[in-house]
C-alpha cells in the first residue's frame, strides 16, 4: 500500500465514528434509500445519461453559437449555454427525481414492506419526510455534478448571477414540490392499476411543470432586467408561498394515506386546506395593495370557495364515527371538543368545516373592506354573492352527502357518494336548462336558472338578470339541507361530548 493510500485509509478510519454519529441524526428512511439508490441501477443510469446528454447538448449549443457571425452574438453565448444545460438539469431534478420518489413509495406496496415500516414504529410523517429527503439528496447530487457546466456558462459572460441562483433555487423548490406530489400520488395508488393511472397523471404534471420552469428560466436569462421588476418579484414570492402551501397539502395527504384508517387522517388535511386558503387571501390582500378592488376580493373569495368545496367533497363523505383512537385523544374540556368540531374527522363535521371556511373568507372580505377603507365598499349585489356562495356550497355538498350518511364506512359507498355529489352538481346546472328548452322557458334554456351557481353569482355581481329567484332556491335548499343533516350533526356532537378520554378508557 502506498503512503497516500495509507493516509487516506487513516483519515477514513478517523472520520468513520463522526460519520456514524452524524448519520444517527438522519431519518432512517433517508439512510436506507440513499444506500439502495447507490447500489441500484435507476439512479446510476439516469445520472450518467443526464450528464452525457448535458455534455452533448452543451457542446452542440456552443458550436452553433460560435459559428454565428451575427454582431453581438457573443453576448448570448452564456445565456444560451446556460438554458441548454438548465433544461437537462431541470429534466433530471423535476422529472427523474420525483419519478424515483414515486417508484420508491410504490415499491413499499409491491414488495410488501409497508407493514414492516408501520411495525418499526416510524410515524407516517417520518416515512414521507424520509422519501422526500431522499429525493432532495438525489437532486443535490445532480446540482453538484452540473456545477462545472454552470461555472462554464457563467464564464462565457452575459449571465446575471442573481438570475442563475434564482433559476437553480426555483428548480430545486420545484423538485421538492413535485417529489411531495409524487409521494402523495403513490400513496394513493396501492393497487397496480391505480398506480399505473397515477403514474401517467404524474408524468403529465412533471413534464408540464418542467417545461414551465425551463421557459421561465429562458425568458429570465434573455431579459435579466425582469428580475428588477417589483411585480415580478412579488409574483415569484406569491408563487413560492402558494407552492409551499400546495406542497404542505400534498405532504399532509400522503401522511393521511399512510396512517391507519382508525387514526385521525382528516385534521391535518383540514388544517392545510384552511392554511392554503389563508395564504391565497393574504396574497390577494398584498397584490391588491390595501386599496380594496372588489374584483380582486370577490375573485379571491370565489377561488377560495372552489378550493374549499373540492376539499370538503372528501371530508363530507368520511365515515361519521370518530374511531376509538381519535375519540380517546379528544381534549377533556367539552367546550374545546365542540370548538374543534370543524377540524375533527367525520362527514357531518365536514359540513361544519365548509361553513367555517366560508365564514373565514366572508370575515376576511368584510374585515379587509373596513380596515383598508373604513367602510363597506361592496354593493348589495356583491354582498348577495358573498352570502350566496357558501349557501350554494352547503346545498350541493350537504344534501347528497346526507343520503349516504349511514353507509359511509364502506370505501365503495364513499366513492359512489363523491361521484353522486359531482354529477348532482353538474345535473343541477344542465337539467333545468333542458327543462327550459323542452317547456319553452327561455331564461332556463339559457342556463339562467337558480340552480346554476355560475350565472346567478355573475348576475348578482352585475345586478342584472333574474337572480331574485335564486334567493327562494337558496332559502328552501338550505332549510332542506339543515333538516336532512340535523340528525347526523346531533349524532356527531353527541359522540364528541360523550367520548371517553384515554384515562377513563384505561380505567
Amino acid at each position: 500500500m502506498t503512503l497516500a493510500a495509507e493516509q487516506q485509509e487513516q483519515v477514513a478510519t478517523e472520520l468513520a465514528p463522526l460519520a456514524e454519529r452524524l448519520s444517527d441524526r438522519l431519518n432512517p428512511i433517508l439512510v436506507k434509500e440513499v444506500r439502495q439508490s447507490l447500489r441500484g441501477r435507476y439512479f446510476k443510469v439516469s445520472f450518467w445519461v443526464t450528464l452525457t446528454l448535458a455534455t452533448m447538448i452543451g457542446l452542440g449549443v456552443l458550436l452553433v453559437s460560435f459559428s454565428s457571425t451575427r454582431e453581438g452574438a457573443s453576448a448570448v453565448y452564456g445565456p444560451q449555454f446556460f438554458v441548454a444545460i438548465f433544461a437537462c438539469l431541470a429534466l433530471a431534478t423535476q422529472v427523474l427525481v420525483p419519478f424515483s420518489a414515486f417508484l420508491s413509495m410504490g415499491s413499499e406496496w409491491d414488495e410488501n414492506t409497508f407493514d414492516l415500516l408501520v411495525l418499526s414504529n416510524l410515524k407516517p410523517r417520518q416515512i414521507v419526510i424520509g422519501k422526500v429527503q431522499s429525493a432532495a439528496v438525489q437532486a443535490l447530487l445532480f446540482y453538484a455534478s452540473f456545477g462545472p457546466f454552470l461555472v462554464f456558462a457563467f464564464l462565457l459572460r452575459g449571465l446575471d448571477l442573481l438570475a442563475i441562483f434564482l433559476c437553480l433555487g426555483i428548480s430545486f423548490v420545484g423538485s421538492l414540490l413535485l417529489s411531495c406530489l409524487a409521494v402523495a400520488l403513490s400513496s394513493f395508488g396501492q393497487g397496480r392499476f391505480a398506480r399505473l393511472m397515477l403514474m401517467v397523471l404524474l408524468a403529465i404534471v412533471l413534464v408540464q411543470g418542467t417545461f414551465v420552469t425551463i421557459a421561465w428560466a429562458g425568458q429570465t436569462m434573455m431579459i435579466p432586467s425582469l428580475l428588477r421588476d417589483p411585480d415580478m418579484l412579488q409574483g415569484l414570492a406569491a408563487a413560492a408561498s402558494i407552492a409551499a402551501a400546495v406542497a404542505a397539502f400534498f405532504f399532509a395527504a400522503a401522511c393521511a394515506r399512510l396512517a391507519h384508517p382508525e387514526e385521525n387522517r382528516s385534521t391535518g388535511l383540514r388544517v392545510m386546506t384552511l392554511v392554503g386558503i389563508a395564504v391565497g387571501l393574504a396574497w390577494a390582500t398584498i397584490i391588491d395593495g390595501w386599496s380594496v378592488d372588489e374584483d380582486v376580493v370577490l375573485g379571491a373569495v370565489m377561488v377560495g370557495h372552489a378550493v374549499l368545496a373540492l376539499a370538503t367533497l372528501f371530508f363530507i363523505t368520511e365515515p361519521e364515527r370518530l374511531g376509538r383512537r381519535v375519540a380517546a385523544k379528544l381534549p377533556k374540556s367539552r367546550l374545546v371538543r365542540l370548538l374543534a368540531t370543524p377540524l375533527l374527522p367525520g362527514g357531518a363535521r365536514g359540513l361544519v368545516f365548509f361553513v367555517c371556511g366560508s365564514l373565514m373568507m366572508s370575515a376576511w372580505a368584510l374585515g379587509y373592506s373596513f380596515i383598508a377603507e373604513g367602510r363597506l365598499v361592496f354593493t348589495t349585489g356583491e354582498l348577495d354573492a358573498l352570502v350566496a356562495l357558501p349557501l350554494y356550497g352547503v346545498i350541493f355538498l350537504g344534501i347528497p352527502s346526507a343520503l349516504f350518511t349511514k353507509r359511509l364506512d364502506s370505501l365503495a359507498v364513499r366513492g359512489i357518494s363523491r361521484i353522486v355529489i359531482v354529477t348532482g352538481f353538474i345535473a343541477a346546472i344542465m337539467l333545468p336548462a333542458l327543462i327550459g328548452f323542452l317547456f319553452g322557458l327561455p331564461n332556463w334554456a339559457d342556463f339562467e336558472h337558480p340552480l346554476n351557481v355560475f350565472t346567478m353569482i355573475h348576475q348578482m355581481l352585475r345586478k342584472d338578470g333574474h337572480y331574485e329567484e335564486a334567493r327562494y332556491f337558496l332559502v328552501a335548499g338550505t332549510l332542506i339541507c339543515v333538516a336532512l343533516n340535523w340528525p347526523r350533526l346531533v349524532r356527531a356532537a353527541r359522540e364528541q361530548l360523550q367520548a371517553p378520554t384515554a384515562a377513563s378508557s384505561d380505567a
Partner: protein, 312 residues
C-alpha cells in the same frame, strides 16, 4: 410470571363476516403459546390486531398492560411481530437491512452496534451480513426477519407461520431459536399448521375456529380437558369382530367404531367414567375382552376433536 399479552373479548368484523368473535386468552413471560386453527379461522387477524396492524371492533389487547387501541406506538416498542409474508428490500444487504430497522427503533451509536452484533450472532447471520437479502434462501430470510423482530428487545414475540416453507433442518433450527428466546424470559405466540412441531415447543395453546376460541390453557390442561370430552379406545376380544362392532355401535356414547388390527377402534364421547361403563357392558354382554387400551391424546387429536375445519 407477569402477563405479557392479554386478549380481552376481541371482536373483529369485516362487513358481515365476524373474523374474530369475542376471543380471550393470555400469555405469560417465558411462555410459548401455540395458536392453532384451520385456514380462515381468524389466526392471522388476531395476530395482526395484537401487532397494531389492525384494530378490534370490540374488546382490546394489552401488551405488557399497554392497549393496542389507545397506544399503538407504546405497544410496538414492546412487541416483535413476524408476519406470515413480508417483503425484501432490493439492493439491500443483510447488514443494511438490520441497521435500517435498528435506526427506526431509535437505537443510536454504540447501542445500535452492540444490538446488531448480538442479533446477528444469535440468529447465525454474521457470515451472511454482506449478502443481498434478495439472494437469501427462505430459511435465511426467516432468520433475518426474526433478527429484525429482536432488535428492540421486545417482551413479546408474535410469529405467524414461521415454519411455513422451511426444510426440516431449518425447522429444527427455528425451534431451537424459539426455545432459546422463551428461555430469555420472552413470551412467544406462534401459529403453525405443523402441530407436531408446536407440541414440541409450546407450553400452552389456544385453539381457534370460525373466529371463536375453542380451548385455551397449558398443553397438558387442554389435552386433559379434551380427554374428558372425547376418547379413542382400542378394544380386542375373543368374540367375533362383527358382533363386537354391532354391540359397540349400539352402545350410547360411542360415536364411531371401525375394525383395525384384529380389534375395534372406538371414538367415545365422555370421560373415564364412561370408559368404565363401556368395559362393564363388554363383560356383561359376554364379549370376553382381552385388550382395552385408551389411546394417548396429543395436540393433533385435540385439534381434530375441537375443530370441524370450518372456514369463514
Amino acid at each position: 410470571m407477569s402477563v405479557a399479552l392479554e386478549v380481552r373479548g376481541l371482536t373483529r368484523r369485516f362487513g358481515k363476516l365476524v373474523a374474530v368473535d369475542d376471543a380471550s386468552f393470555e400469555i405469560r413471560r417465558g411462555e410459548i403459546l401455540g395458536f392453532i386453527g384451520p385456514n380462515g379461522a381468524g389466526k392471522t387477524t388476531t395476530m395482526r390486531v395484537c401487532a397494531t396492524l389492525d384494530l378490534p371492533d370490540e374488546g382490546d389487547v394489552l401488551i405488557d398492560g399497554v392497549s393496542v387501541v389507545l397506544d399503538p406506538r407504546g405497544v410496538r416498542r414492546r412487541l416483535g411481530f413476524m408476519p406470515d409474508s413480508y417483503g425484501a428490500y432490493v439492493h439491500t444487504t443483510v447488514a443494511d437491512y438490520l441497521d435500517f430497522f435498528a435506526r427506526t427503533y431509535g437505537l443510536r451509536g454504540k447501542d445500535r452496534a452492540r444490538m446488531l452484533a448480538y442479533v446477528k450472532d444469535f440468529t447465525g447471520l454474521t457470515p451472511l451480513e454482506h449478502k443481498l437479502m434478495t439472494s437469501l434462501s427462505k430459511g435465511m430470510k426467516q432468520r433475518l426477519c426474526l433478527a429484525k423482530t429482536l432488535l428492540h428487545d421486545p417482551a413479546l414475540l408474535i410469529l405467524d407461520e414461521p415454519a411455513a416453507g422451511l426444510d426440516p433442518h431449518a425447522r429444527v433450527e427455528l425451534r431451537e431459536l424459539v426455545k432459546a428466546l422463551a428461555g430469555l424470559g420472552k413470551a412467544v405466540m406462534i401459529s403453525s399448521h405443523i402441530l407436531t412441531e408446536l407440541s414440541q415447543i409450546c407450553t400452552s395453546v389456544a385453539v381457534i375456529e370460525a373466529g371463536r376460541i375453542r380451548a385455551t390453557g397449558t398443553v397438558d390442561d387442554v389435552i386433559r380437558r379434551a380427554r374428558t370430552q372425547h376418547q379413542r379406545v382400542f378394544v380386542r376380544s375373543l368374540a367375533p369382530i362383527d358382533a363386537l362392532l354391532k354391540l359397540m355401535l349400539e352402545t350410547p356414547g360411542v360415536e364411531t367404531a371401525r375394525p383395525e388390527r384384529g380389534g375395534v377402534v372406538l371414538e367415545v364421547a365422555g370421560a373415564e367414567d364412561d370408559l368404565a361403563r363401556l368395559v362393564r357392558r363388554l363383560v356383561e354382554a359376554g364379549m370376553d375382552p382381552i385388550e382395552f387400551s385408551p389411546k394417548a391424546t396429543d395436540l393433533e387429536d385435540v385439534f381434530l376433536s375441537l375443530t370441524a375445519g370450518t372456514v369463514q
